[in-house]
Amino acid sequence: MNTGGSVLLLVLLLVPLVGSLAVAPLRNDDRAAKRVAFGIAIIELTLAGVAWAMYSVADAAAGTRFQLEFAYPWIPAFGTSFALGVDGIALVMIALTALLVPIVMGFSWEEKLPEGRSAASFFALLLATEGLLIGVFAATDVFLFYVFFEAMLVPMYFLIGRFGGPRRQYAAVKFFLYSLLGGLVMLASVIGLFVVSGERLGEGTFTWAELQRIAASVPESTQIWLFLGFFLAFAIKAPLVPFHTWLPDAGAEAPIGVGVLLVGVLDKVGTFGFLRYCLPLFPAASRTLAPLVLVLAVIGVLYGALLAVAQSDLKRFVSYTSVAHFGYIALGIFAFSTQAFAGSVLYMVNHGLTTGMLFIVVGMLIARGGSRLIADYGGVAKLAPLLAGTFLLAGLASLALPGTNSFVSEFLVLIGSFPREPVYTILATVGIIFAALYILWVYQRTMQGPVRGTAVLAALGGPGDGPGTMLDPAVAVKRRGVGFPDLSKREIAVLTPLIVLIVGLGFFPGPVLDVINPSVAATMSEVGLTDPVGGVSR
């Protein structure tokens, strides 16, 4: 259904990719590189706003599956075309991506890069990642999706491996291997889909809409094999326990800004994939295998939370909270109800904002103390009340306190999952206690009480806290007496949009939910189930 369309998505895809090529050569002028990159990111954000404005909720509700479509025959012999289009789910993810990139750039503006690395390549890689992510969300051709899915690994690999912390090589290789493994298995399923479609239609195709149309007629045993291929790739990306162990390393070693993109958006490709590919293309397999995924999801919620409680490294801590959060998203997706779907999609957006903010605030703390260890901090609220306040707000959003955006999504996931899956939902609901524990405990240790901790005392020029616990004892010496200032104007500017959205979407989630609703209703009917409660299904 090519409406002859709109090149807007193509532009959205190309602006950051071309921009990346334009920024990369500016090695000798960091300032110019940053400014050009930031300008491109702002243009991209504006374009995403235009796409949001052009997207018609009414059309979506009337049954138009994708809007703003663009298609160009790519390898006709092979049934694949360069086809782009968005539904409500893809649209909100594109908007989230376009929003986070300039924020990440603003945060990384004064980032100390490792020796010999230029800001130009860092910002160019950020733009490249953005473009490829847009491609992943906008692709309506399965093969094209696969290409973007694999391609986005490359800039991310370099961002972690070249610009990260002390063990960046290890983390980057681990990230790459995991993703590659998932990608290869998915490739087998992608090709399998082509073969199956060839059997059904006489001619193989990769077009999503065509594949969805024949989905119900594919035998369940075939569906299960194909499902598992996609599922493994997405479960690694999301990540679900037990495929999660690359994330704490990548999250800990990646520069903060990259971590925000990694956990905030790139990982969502996994849960996006569940909704866009696993459920509609393999409905019978999804229904049959749902208990398996639900078990993994609930284990993720509780296991991730318990692991977060015992972390000693701030960045690993944030990564493990995300493992728990991804458990909630997966629960909502495989509990099959309109409410839980809407909750999961909204969760994907909200998690990008709240965990993004938590990562950023943690980064601001680390920038002041020079250490990632929780034990190196204490009583920061007395020195930097704004930093502490924003940390607490991000934490409260992370534990889904009502009044913040995350509450709406977590509540929708849980209430929507409850009628069909009461046992798993009860277990996941218990997880909210652990969430309160891990957030408030870290807040207590780093922010509350008397001023203490090696990193803080060293920064203040004090005598230190006895033997340092810092990862690198030399850092404590180097940082002696640099002071522990509160948030700068730039940092406030970076955080303000996130704070406004976190509180704003807590009380007014309507505009986002309105965009999401018709598409999750469509997904619901593609799975072939009706709502257990509320009885709304098209």
Binding site: A77, G204, F418, P532
Partner: protein, 665 residues
Amino acid sequence: MPTELPATGAVGPVTGVASLAWLLFALPAASAVILFVAGRRANRWGHWLGVLSVAAAFVIGALIFVQTLGLDPAQRTREISLYEWIPVAGLNIDFGFRLDPLSLTFVLLITGVGGLIHLYSVGYMAPHATDGGEPADDSSRRRFFAQLNLFIAAMLLLVLGNNFVLLYLGWEGVGLASYLLIGFYQNRPSAATAAKKAFLMNRVGDVGLALAIFLIWMELGTVQYTDVFARIGEVPGGTILAITLLLLLGACGKSGQFPLQAWLPDAMEGPTPVSALIHAATMVTAGVFLVARMNPIYNITETGRLAVAIIGVITLLIGAIIGCAYDDIKKVLAYSTVSQIGYMILAVGLGPAGYALGILHLLAHGFFKAGLFLGAGSVMHAMHDEVDMRRFGGLARYMPITTVTFGLGYLAIIGFPFLSGYYTKDAIIAATFGQGGWQGAVFGGVAVLAAGLTAFYMTRLVLMTFFGEKRWQNLRVGDTPDGAQYHPHESPAVMTIPMIVLAFGSVAAGFLLTWDGALVRWLQPTLGELEESAAGPLSHTAVAIVTVAVSALGALIAYLVVGRRPVPVQRPEPVSFPVRAARRDLYANAINEVLIARPGIWLSRALVYIDNRGVDGLVNGTAALLGGSSGRLRRLQTGFVRSYALSMLGGSVLVIAALLAVRFA
């Protein structure tokens, strides 16, 4: 199939001043936001903005109350829908308020007592005053008022919301405010620990409330009060029981009821106005509100109500027992609060015979307990933040206003004839006996016994603080030789005026609220007809006489123990087992520590080990199989990945080529 509606009649739209109801929430919320965002710029006037916003909310609440009084009782339940908060198919959650006698009663309590305590705090939190050993400054006072306003806004949302999810928003919102204010003193690690503990134990209760909401929605497909209450009869009995028990879990968390009571005494780490407002008069009574609000659900299940009553009885007894053992003035009052809320929970657990009595005692308690806490704060203000009653004594001469207002609150709580507690607590005890059967006898007996204990610990507190020897004369602050001497003095007017107003409330509230059944009749459209029980073995008069006699006995024993004999400044040790157990909170904290906290920490440490060695090790091992050894994996450079990328690409091309070959063969 509309079922019989004992309590809720038709719900009408709002008119006139009631359409301003959104301001009730918006004013304190806006004030909180301004104080948080404006930062230091608001230091000079921030506290007055805080007072003003609550006072304005009180005026609006009072106007709506008067307007409602003018309506026919059948039309006093009204709703105002502001906007659609969470629009999702099958679950459209409204942001709207339900104005009915119950919610309006709470609005007046929250903004009225809240306004007085805001005013008191202007003096109490004034710069250079100290509290808890931390000198206050302009910024900390502004922060305090921002958080106190936040609390008022959240609490109003809790009572005004017209659906379960908005209730939950207010419910956790007050939990946040409580968390912030308990941890207000940043120098004290114990404050941070107490704050975290309060939030966590509340969250345990919140899980119960959340699951109750899930169940209700699953059964009825709606979370709006009006629809739920109208159709609750369709829900099977077992589910109803589950819902009521889950709601009770929520009530236990918020109201410090057994087994989730341990956080409330620790919450006294917060500034004293917070203890008065949040941890005595309003927030901790939310559990009572919850059961009363859900009366259409509790009316259906006798077992559910019995569970509520049992929790109330257990709590009112343990609170009173522990209250007898503490020497910390705020902790005694805190356990007193635990115990008094136990009475309220017992009352609402009696069902139609007790809902209104629970609210009645809640209001009276709101006055006298807030007054008692403010009095305790005044004493601490005068005594360098000392809380150990063994270091007080003979303060009556130095702080006459505090002594008189505190004394009136004291008489009210012990149920001295014709003061508040006499009307409200005795009514609960009489209604409990009126239930008849073993429950009536056992619960009523325990309630009378606890009334005697209440008289004991309160008399002990008053005697040790205001009368007897001036034990502080030979002591120094902090027990250090160079510590300052104590110079007790009366507090400024901005603090004493709220105390005087609350003292009037302590004296008169019980009488006025029960005059001709005023409150009961007012609440009737929400809570239904109050069932008068005549079944009990004892008449009301007899119950009143017995209760007063037992209370008098408790007071007399206290006089014999601490009034006639000198009080040692050092706490006597060793003591008998019951006293030791009471001093250790009847081992509630020890049990939590051994059963939950330590195993939890061990478990999470064990999981970290497993995650690093097991899960990750497995994966590293697999990777090692692919790429050599895991040691090499770490040292591998980009070239490794390049070759992988190439092989991936090569593999893909091969597979595709094979596919094409198959197709075109």
